[in-house]
Every structure is written in structure tokens, then in C-alpha cells.
């Protein structure tokens, strides 16, 4: 017998259509005289939008995940990258992406649409190298601008929110605008930029608010569903349609589920949280967990990759970062505001110490009422698995039950599905749980 009522998300179809339309827009951008930009999901994607309403993005991480979802296609891309000479342990998204270019095949049909320029950011060892190499693989004539965001941690992990650190990032953003004007020959429209910057802030703020609702028991969203929804932030957080979707469709609907006690997993008995990207080709693992009545309520990854939060040290809590008091009115203001906003990204902080991430994870575990934590030792992403072994130790020290498993977000050859299921069996058994009878 189910404990809670459940029902599908009403906005599901709209979400799917928005996503497909976005990938199509990138593909067809040139037909309408528009521009194509490629870059990381963490790029300041609002900035190129000042070049016009016909600027369309493709972001490498969700693109790589889409490839990974299609195992035969991904295998082709990965081997193309390896044949070119790239090591197998490099970022799996990146190898899928490079493989797409080498094979000239777009995961959504047709040839790989060549970007007019690349615009990205750099915090892990590979971010800027990804696009430097993508441009080279495209024939060497795609220009690239990278923004360095590796400026150290933010409050409360640093003693101060140092103005010179924000300025360094903001100044690079300003430089990038001049650069874009030069490489595209277009005149930059600040009004469009301000609008895009605000959409970015609005969508990342709203996403955090949506995640807050998952504190509820039963959880209105399970993480497998969250993956399909957080993706808009990774696709293009500055996209007005996406910001509107979060604000006008998703947030009210999730609130309504909370009000009516609608559960994502009707047998919710145990709440877990995860970490890092999942093995995209094996999301069925989440369905397997439901057999124990396990719901994954999310992770620092799904909450904080494209959601903006502040860690409250005093209360060991994670709270959505409040919107800035006013919208930006000058180019400098907009650049500074974006730099400041994004430098507080939860997923940037662990680059400087695993302790920061452990603190935030501990806060999620406690405030979202989690019973156990699973950590995906993700061989496919150096950036998000950096320090993960220390996170394990830190969480154990704080009294949490922790299970680790190895895998790869985008290279199925490195995931042992049966072995991982076995691990979960042992772990659940250790927690005194019995598998629920199949319905």
C-alpha cells in the first residue's frame, strides 16, 4: 500500500518542448541569420545575448549528458576522441563533445552545427581547454573567450567578499563584450544584456526556491525528475522562457504538490541525497532504489549547480540567495552584479576546500531530513569529484551514513550496474530495510 498519493507533473510536456526547441534553435540559428555560441553550462551565458535576440547557445555539459543517454552514439563519440589522442580519463562530457565535432554529428540529428564563437568560463582543469580544443577541432577559425572564475571562496568561507576578486571577473566580462563586438562585427545592445542578466539571476534564484520545497515530507520531487528540470539552468540560465517557466509554471506547481501532500515516490520511507552527476546512462538505478521506498531528495549538485544559495554558518543552513535590490542599469553594474552573483555558487566553493562542501552537504542532509547519503565517485568529472573522498570522511564524522560507488557520468564502460545494485542492496540491508514487494 502506498503511503502517499502521487501524480505526474503537469508542466512536464512543456518542459520537454522547451528543451527540444532550444536545441533546435541552435541548429537552425544560421538559417535565420542568427549567431551560434558554444560554451560551458557555467558560462556567463547572459553576456553574449547583448548581441541580439537571435543569439543561440549550446552548452557542453548537458549536451554531453544527452550523448551519454544514447549509449551507441556515445560509444562512437568517445572512441573518436580516443582515436584523436585524447586520454580516456578526461571529462566524459568533453570527450562526447569533441567526438561529436570529430564525427560531425549532432546528437539531435544532422551534422554538428559549427559555432560562430566560443564563450566559456574556467574553474576546473578542463573548462577552458574544452573550448580551446573544440575551436581547434572545428578547423581553428572559431574564436574563443574564456572567463576565469577561480578567484577563491566566498563568504562565509572566506573572511571577506573581496571586491578585487569580483572586479577581476567583472573586468573580464567587460573585455569580453568588446571582444565579441570585434569578432562578430555586431554592435552590442546593453538593454538586451540587462534583461538577460536579470533572467539569469531570476532563474537561478527561483530554482533554489523550488528546491526548498523538497524539504517537505513526502518530497514533491524525486531527483530523477529534478534532473529533467534543473537542466534549464545548465542549458541557458539567462533564457527568458526558462526563467518564466521556473517562476510561473514549476514553482507554483511544486508548491501545490506540497500543499496537497503529493509525493514523488508514493512509498517514501527513506530519504537520501546524492552527490555529483549521476551515470546518465543508468538512471534506472533510481527506480531500483524506489523498491526500498527510497527517495533521493536531491543533492548539492542539483540544488547548487545552477541555483544560488548562501550558506548560513550560524544555523548550519542553506538558504536561497535573495535577489539583488535593483536591476542593473549600466554595463559595469550588470557585469559586477553577475560576477558577484555567480561567485557565490555553491558548486564553486569546494574547489578551494572539501570542508566547505561538507558543511553545505551536512546542512542539506539535516534540513532536508535525509537518512543516508550516497556519493558517486564520478570518474567522468574531475571538477565535481575533487575532494569527494574527504567529503565522505567529513560526513561520516558528522554522523551520517554514507555509501560510495564508482561510475562515470558519460562513459558507460566505467559503470558496473550489477555491482552498484549489489552495493545498494548491502547498504539498504545494513540500514535494516527490506525490499518492498513489487506492485
Amino acid at each position: 500500500m502506498a503511503r502517499y498519493p502521487t501524480e505526474p507533473l503537469k508542466c512536464w510536456a512543456k518542459a520537454k518542448e522547451l528543451r527540444n526547441e532550444w536545441y533546435r534553435d541552435f541548429q537552425e540559428a544560421h538559417d535565420k541569420g542568427g549567431l551560434r555560441v558554444m560554451g560551458s553550462a557555467w558560462a556567463f551565458d547572459a553576456v553574449p545575448l547583448g548581441l541580439g535576440r537571435d543569439v543561440h547557445w549550446v552548452t557542453g555539459e548537458p549536451y554531453g549528458a544527452s550523448c551519454a543517454f544514447d549509449k551507441p552514439l556515445s560509444a562512437k563519440f568517445l572512441s573518436a576522441a580516443e582515436n584523436f589522442g585524447f586520454a580516456r580519463d578526461l571529462c566524459a562530457y568533453m570527450r562526447n563533445y569533441w567526438g561529436s565535432i570529430i564525427c560531425d554529428k549532432y546528437a539531435f540529428g544532422g551534422g554538428f552545427p559549427k559555432a560562430d564563437f566560443a564563450y566559456s568560463q574556467h574553474i576546473c582543469c578542463s573548462h577552458a581547454k574544452w573550448y580551446q580544443n573544440a575551436c581547434e577541432l572545428e578547423g581553428g577559425n572559431v574564436p574563443f573567450f574564456g572567463i576565469d572564475v577561480g578567484v577563491g571562496p566566498c563568504l562565509p568561507f572566506a573572511p571577506k567578499h573581496y571586491p578585487h576578486r569580483i572586479k577581476y571577473v567583472a573586468d573580464q566580462l567587460l573585455d569580453s563584450i568588446d571582444w565579441m563586438e570585434k569578432v562578430t562585427g555586431r554592435e552590442y545592445n546593453d538593454e538586451l544584456f540587462f534583461e538577460a542578466a536579470w533572467n539569469d539571476i531570476r532563474s537561478t534564484h527561483t530554482w533554489a526556491k523550488i528546491c526548498m520545497l523538497n524539504r517537505n515530507i513526502p518530497a514533491p520531487l524525486d531527483e530523477k525528475t529534478i534532473y529533467s528540470l534543473y537542466v534549464f539552468g545548465t542549458l541557458q540560465k539567462s533564457n527568458g522562457k526558462f526563467a518564466d517557466f521556473y517562476e510561473n509554471d514549476l514553482l507554483p506547481e511544486v508548491q501545490d504538490r506540497v500543499d496537497r501532500g503529493i509525493a514523488a515516490v508514493p512509498n517514501e520511507r527513506v530519504r537520501i541525497m546524492t552527490d555529483t552527476q549521476p551515470p546518465w546512462g543508468f538512471l534506472s538505478i533510481y527506480r531500483y532504489l524506489e523498491k526500498w521506498g527510497v527517495v533521493s531528495i536531491g543533492s548539492l549538485y542539483t540544488f547548487g549547480l545552477e541555483g544560488m544559495w548562501l550558506y548560513d554558518k550560524e544555523n548550519n543552513d542553506l538558504i536561497p540567495r535573495p535577489l539583488p535590490e535593483k536591476k542593473p542599469e549600466t554595463r559595469e553594474e550588470a557585469c559586477t552584479m553577475l560576477a558577484d552573483w555567480h561567485l557565490t555558487k555553491p558548486e564553486y566553493q569546494h574547489y578551494y576546500s572539501p570542508e566547505y562542501k561538507t558543511m553545505m552537504m551536512d546542512a542539506i542532509a539535516k534540513k532536508w531530513k535525509v537518512d543516508a547519503i550516497t556519493l558517486h565517485y564520478n570518474r567522468g568529472c574531475e571538477g565535481l569529484s575533487v575532494g569527494i573522498a574527504e567529503n565522505r570522511l567529513g560526513l561520516l564524522k558528522r554522523g551520517h551514513k554514507v555509501l560510495t560507488y564508482e561510475g562515470n557520468m558519460g562513459d558507460e564502460r566505467e559503470f558496473d550496474k550489477e555491482g552498484v545494485k549489489r552495493r545498494f542492496d548491502i547498504f539498504m540491508d545494513g540500514m535494516g530495510l527490506k525490499k518492498l514487494e513489487d506492485d
Binding site: G85, F86, D89, K129, N133, D148, G150, Y168, D171, P354
Partner: protein
């Protein structure tokens, strides 16, 4: 005289402890060559680089996930095993994430009471990098004031610059000898020298190195230099490997001499001097570290390394390049296909080897020998 460097390399901890006893000064361990040692010298603090010991170990598994490079685990093992217990502080300047984990785990479990992460900019090709780094240096100076209880002046910084530049210059002068047809110094000897820089006070190092410089004028090695080899790649102080390839000629038909490298244990570390004509010493130091030969993780949007590696290859007249990759080293893995392509296009044959904490000497000898033979055959064509 060269023997001294081997001794410093082998007995790095003995040197450090003795230095501390002699001078009563503080020692800070740094994890990456982007650490501005000039500033430490300005405070009379001895900066020493933490390198691994090339021994298999089993203490880092709980701390670093297995897909990170063996070098970073080897480095952390040194800390966990207490080999650097004499340190008064540890610091890292931002470079790769691998090594940063060795630092952060060390910071959590073996913190000597002072630790610092310096956000060395990644976008070194941006005009914004130098002013940013200068501001960061000011924060580092505040931290060093806490460590030492001292204040420093611009003149102290200039003194730090001079100390470092002197050591760098003498190493560059020594490398000039490696350009000779029959280099009077082997690659292994040279590697002992460049790495000894990490473990000794730069002035003491320079004093002995300057004597070597004089000695090299007349030194002759009783060996056939064979093929002239360059090493390009990740962190590498695997002297056992270098020794082995430089001895191949004793048993095999073809031997070689390592004449130059692009490693952070060698040229990337010392090649670039601080411009002493820049008035503000912090400006001068920041300029040096931003413009120095880049680690691949900072070498974008332009891949400036290509030109520089080719220059070294030409200046040292190399016959072939061995591309050395530390297993799992992401920064180098993103550059290697392009470096190989570029060198091959410029008629420099390349060979790829993946290094771990220990190298399987036998198989690597066979592979290197095969590469040297291939270089020999190319000669025959002309």
C-alpha cells in the same frame, strides 16, 4: 660538485632540518611552482617544494579518489607519513585540481598551523591578471605577517627577487652547456640540480651552482652523447627513468642524452626571471608569474606552449621528444595530441609514455630504445 645536488635531492629533509637549526627560521612547503617564492624570501622564510618519493603507499586511499594523478597521492603520502613534520606552514598557488587535493587533505589532517591557498589567476593571457594577482599578493603578505610576526618593505621584496633571479640565471647558464654537441652534464645530473632548487635556500643553491658553471667549462664526459632527447610534459622527477635511458648506449647500439625538458620540475620553473627594472616589486613579481611559461591549465585561449617547446627543441638541437604524461594528469592530457601534432609537423619525432609513481623500467627501456632506433633510421634516409 654535481654530487652535492644529488645529496640535496636524496636528503632533502636532512637539509631542511639543518637549515632550520642553523637559521632558526621558518619553512613553508609549497605544492606548485606558481608559489611566489620571492615573497617568502622577503620574510626570510624558506620555501620548499613538496615532491613525492616514488614509493608505492597505501595511506591516501581514504583521502583522494583513485582517478586523480599518482603524483598528488604521492605528495599527500609524504605529509600523512610525517616526513615534512618540520614545516611551519603549507601553501599552494592555484594550478591543477589534482595537486590541490594533496594540499587540502594535508590542510585538514596535518595542518602545521599555517596554510594558504593563493588564487593564482588562470586567465594569464588577460590584462586583468596582473592587477588581480598583485592584490592577492597583498593578502598573502598579511598572512605571512601573521606567520612571522614581521613586516616587510619594498626593499625586502627586491632582495627576494634578487635571491630567486640569481638561482634562475645560473640554471639558465648551465642549460647553455647542454646545447653543446657533447654536453658536459647529463640529463640526470641536470635533473638533480633543478630539483635541488626546491629543497634548498636559493642562495646556497646558487653558490654551489655557480661553481659548477666554472667546472663545466672544462668538464668532459667519457660517453657518447647519442641521440639528443627532449622531455615534454607533466611534473616529472623520475630520475631513475632518465638514468636508464642515458645508459642505454652502454649495452645497445644506440644511446641518448637528455638535453632539455619542458617540465614544471625544470624549465617551466626557472626559465623566466623577474624583470628588476619594474619599479614596484609586487608588480614585477606578479608580472613574472603571469607571463612565465604556462602550465597547460593556464595556457588559453592561445596555446603559447607550442612555440616555446619548439624553440627549446631547436635551440637544443633535439633529435626527438618523449612526451611524458603523469597518469590522469588532465591539464597535459588536453594538450598532448596538439603538441605531438605540432612537433611532428615541425619534423621532431615524438614518443608517448605514461608515468606512474613507479615506472616499469624494463618495458620502458625497450620502448625508449625502439624510439631511439627509429630516430637512427631517419638519419639513414639522408
Amino acid at each position: 660538485m654535481i654530487e652535492q645536488f644529488k645529496q640535496w635531492y636524496d636528503k632533502r629533509h636532512v637539509y631542511a632540518r639543518e637549515w632550520k637549526e642553523r637559521n632558526g627560521g621558518k619553512i613553508v612547503g609549497f605544492f606548485c611552482t606558481y608559489a611566489p617564492e620571492e615573497i617568502f624570501y622577503a620574510f626570510d622564510v624558506l620555501p620548499v617544494r613538496v615532491l613525492g618519493s616514488h614509493e608505492p603507499q597505501d595511506v591516501t586511499e581514504p583521502h583522494i579518489f583513485g582517478m586523480f594523478c599518482p603524483f598528488c597521492r604521492d605528495v599527500l603520502a609524504q605529509g600523512l607519513k610525517g616526513r615534512y613534520d618540520y614545516l611551519d606552514g603549507i601553501m599552494i598557488a592555484q594550478s591543477c585540481l589534482h595537486l590541490r587535493q594533496a594540499f587540502t587533505s594535508w590542510e585538514i589532517h596535518k595542518n602545521p598551523g599555517w596554510s594558504y591557498f593563493l588564487p593564482m589567476p588562470n586567465h594569464v593571457q588577460s590584462k586583468r591578471a596582473i592587477p588581480f594577482l598583485k592584490e592577492e599578493y597583498k593578502l598573502l603578505i598579511e598572512k605571512l605577517e601573521e606567520l612571522t610576526g614581521k613586516k616587510i618593505t619594498d626593499d625586502d621584496l627586491r632582495r627576494g627577487i634578487k635571491i630567486m633571479n640569481r638561482a634562475r640565471q645560473v640554471m639558465k647558464d648551465i642549460y647553455e652547456f647542454r646545447k653543446r654537441e657533447a654536453p658536459p652534464i647529463t640529463g640526470a645530473e641536470s635533473m638533480y640540480m633543478t630539483c635541488a632548487q626546491f629543497f634548498t635556500h636559493a642562495t646556497e643553491f646558487a653558490e654551489v651552482a655557480e661553481k659548477v658553471l666554472v667546472e663545466l667549462e672544462t668538464r668532459k664526459l667519457d660517453r657518447d652523447p647519442g641521440k639528443r632527447i627532449m622531455l615534454v610534459g607533466s611534473e616529472n622527477d623520475d630520475i631513475e627513468y632518465i638514468n636508464m635511458i642515458e645508459h642505454l648506449g652502454e649495452q645497445e647500439s644506440v644511446g641518448c642524452t637528455l638535453v632539455v625538458e619542458d617540465h614544471c620540475t625544470t624549465t617551466r620553473y626557472f626559465w623566466d626571471l623577474v624583470d628588476e627594472s619594474i619599479d614596484d616589486p609586487l608588480d614585477a613579481i606578479a608580472t613574472r608569474y603571469v607571463n612565465r611559461t604556462a602550465c597547460p591549465t593556464k595556457d588559453w585561449p592561445q596555446r603559447t606552449r607550442l612555440k616555446r617547446i619548439l624553440e627549446l627543441a631547436k635551440d637544443f638541437n633535439v633529435d626527438g621528444a618523449i612526451i611524458v604524461q603523469q597518469k590522469f594528469c588532465d591539464p597535459h592530457e588536453t594538450d598532448i595530441p596538439f603538441i605531438r601534432k605540432f612537433l611532428e609537423e615541425n619534423d621532431i619525432p615524438t614518443y608517448f609514455l605514461e608515468f606512474d609513481v613507479t615506472v616499469p623500467a624494463g618495458p620502458f627501456a625497450i620502448r625508449t630504445e625502439a624510439f631511439l632506433e627509429q630516430l637512427g633510421m631517419e638519419d639513414d634516409l639522408f
